[in-house]
């Protein structure tokens, strides 16, 4: 156990270092973007005078390193700063958006993970049958279409024609839990179709891989039923790779869903990020990036810890 704690501490320390480097890279990236906030916001209405006034007001006339250090100083005290574009507190804006993103990711995960794992187990159980192949083809086809296409198709059938779900996910904080779930159903289903194939295939492969190992063969010789072998003997030992692939997909559900947000007009963090990049609102870009990166690092850490916990050999090294 102490070993795990030590590893977690080490990884967290490394994580902070990674976050710092990420923030530096993103800052440089935003600095390199052609044009700046003033020009982006004023657009066609930019005159040299107003641009200069804009820059003065939001502090864009200061040298880059000053701005970065100011931002870093605030960050270390837990202050995300204010959006340059509309002077609002970033923490407040991001909080709502991030909660929305997490809600959508959670809804999609609740549907997708059990579905993928059970399909994977079933496919392994009945491998090379028609069922196995059909599942394989269907899930592969689902990930072969661009995300937005899958989204529009679902809208066509479930919203426009059948009128079961709303076509846009117009959510706000005052909605009840189930109403919220109802409104994010279509984007959640879209994401489910996008992530299921990967997880399902990995589950199947991991289990099949184990079927060749001696202890399973032993169990088979003993005459234990196939389904019992797979669920009681193979699955627990295949957990590590399965957890890994689930975590990778969870990370994707949190950080990679800009396109789905656009299709369903869902106010998640991704759209906020894209807007801020376009307007060069660097404190917001930074804040979003750090949240994404932190999510990624934490999820990976969780995966590693879970793999160790699920593997007795790693838990009790000789």
């Amino acid at each position: 156990m102490a070993k795990i704690l030590k590893m977690v501490a080490q990884r967290l320390a490394l994580g902070f270092l990674t976050l710092f480097v990420v923030s530096l890279i993103i800052f440089l990236g935003v600095e390199l973007l052609p044009g700046d906030l003033a020009e982006a916001i004023l657009g066609q209405a930019a005159t040299p005078e107003t641009v200069a006034a804009f820059r003065r007001e939001v502090g864009l006339d200061l040298p880059p390193h000053t701005r970065y250090l100011d931002w870093l100083g605030g960050m270390l005290q837990g202050d995300f700063g204010r959006s340059l574009a509309n002077q609002r507190e970033i923490s407040g804006l991001i909080g709502v958006r991030f909660a929305n993103t997490l809600f959508l990711a959670a809804t999609a995960a609740v549907i997708a993970v059990p579905l993928a794992v059970s399909l994977g187990v079933l496919a392994a159980l009945y491998r090379n049958t028609l069922f196995d192949r059909a599942i394989n083809v269907v899930t592969l086809t689902a990930i072969s279409f661009p995300e937005f296409f899958v989204g529009y198709i679902l809208i066509l059938f479930l919203a426009v024609q059948a009128n079961i779900f709303p076509s846009i996910s117009n959510v706000s904080a005052d909605l009840g839990f189930w109403e919220h779930v109802y409104r994010v159903m279509l984007p959640a289903l879209t994401l489910t179709l996008v992530v299921v194939a990967h997880m399902m295939r990995m589950t199947r492969a991991a289990i099949i891989n184990l079927l060749a190992s001696p202890y399973i063969e032993m169990a088979m010789l003993k005459g234990i039923s196939r389904s019992r072998i797979i669920i009681h003997h193979a699955l627990p030992n295949a957990l590590a790779p399965i957890i890994n692939v689930i975590v990778i997909n969870l990370a994707y559900l949190v950080v990679g869903v800009v396109v789905v947000e656009v299709v369903f007009a869902y106010p998640g963090l991704g759209q906020y990020f894209v807007d801020s990049v376009i307007k060069r609102d660097f404190p917001v870009v930074q804040a979003c990036c750090l949240i994404f990166a932190a999510t990624y690092i934490l999820l990976n850490l969780t995966a590693d810890v879970l793999s160790i916990l699920s593997n007795p050999r790693l838990m009790h090294p000789k």
Binding site: T18, I25, V274
Partner: protein
């Protein structure tokens, strides 16, 4: 040749189907100018002709360009770009991955941390940022996606070769005093190839899905160059009216992805030695 036929015969029907699909696509891509009835961005008739009218088998698009021609050239552009990108990603990721394991020590640590940083930034967002800085052109698009994708390849290559590096024959080569490059190319690479090749198939498919996402956000391939993802995007409003036209390019992408994955599955199966009795 004979071995090849034997191999083909032993292939399951899905793999043969996959191979046929790939062969067809490659053929279309290579001979696009011969196969296509018109030029890639040539305006040949009135816009938005329905299928089958005035001799345009699939109708015309919003500028009056022939749909069939656009689809055929789309194969060339889409597959070409995805292929080059994936190759580049494997070159970068593979070389660094193998170098990291072979040299070990601080090189491994440094490369590993760099990849961690790159992976911690969401790919789509990072690509968006870089493409906005550099402007979208095909070469930039290829390099950016390849670099971002190479992080995954690096991880895999490192993981696979890690298991090989500790094996006796590599140790033996080291003791013989062989150079790093020799060890990588002669000992490690051949032995870690199968999983890498399998990954190649999947990565290849992800690349054009990724390009399609970028196109959707306005940063991918631009007109008048024909590519399937942009074609789907341009016609997306038709989907709400149950018009099947956008299915053509979307289906073209899907068919190729399924085909490639079938072949990859078969390949994995052949090389991994998993006994798949019954």
């Amino acid at each position: 040749m004979e071995r090849f036929w034997k191999l083909l015969k032993s292939a399951p029907p899905t793999a043969i189907f996959g191979l046929l699909v790939i062969a067809l696509y490659v053929f279309v891509a290579l001979f696009a100018p011969v196969l296509a009835p018109y030029g890639e961005s040539e305006i040949v008739g009135p816009e938005f002709l329905p299928r089958g009218e005035e001799g345009f088998i699939l109708g015309t698009d919003n500028l009056g360009r022939d749909m069939l021609t656009r689809l055929i050239y789309g194969a060339r552009n889409t597959i070409g770009i995805a292929f080059v990108t994936t190759c580049l990603a494997f070159l970068i990721g593979g070389v660094f991955g193998l170098v990291a394991t072979t040299l070990g020590g601080w090189v491994d640590q440094l490369l590993g941390r760099m990849v961690d940083v790159l992976m911690a930034i969401p790919t789509l967002i990072f690509a968006l940022l870089i493409l906005t800085i550099t402007g979208t052109s095909i070469p930039v698009l290829i390099v950016v996606i390849a670099v971002l994708d190479s992080t995954r390849v690096f991880r895999l290559a490192r993981a696979v070769s890690m298991n090989i590096v500790v094996l006796d024959f590599v140790e033996a080569a080291r003791l013989r005093g062989e150079g790093t490059w020799w060890i990588i190319t002669r000992e490690i690479l051949p032995n870690s190839l199968p999983p890498l090749v399998a990954e190649f198939g999947l990565r290849f498919c992800f690349v054009f899905l990724f390009i399609s996402a970028l196109s959707f956000l306005g940063l991918g391939i631009k007109p008048p160059l024909a590519d399937w993802a942009s074609m789907v995007r341009d016609m997306r409003t038709l989907i709400s009216f149950a018009d099947p036209t956008p299915l053509l390019p979307a289906g073209a992408i899907a068919l190729l992805t399924v085909g490639v994955n079938f072949v990859v599955d078969w390949f994995l199966h052949k090389t991994s030695g998993i006994r798949d009795e019954k």
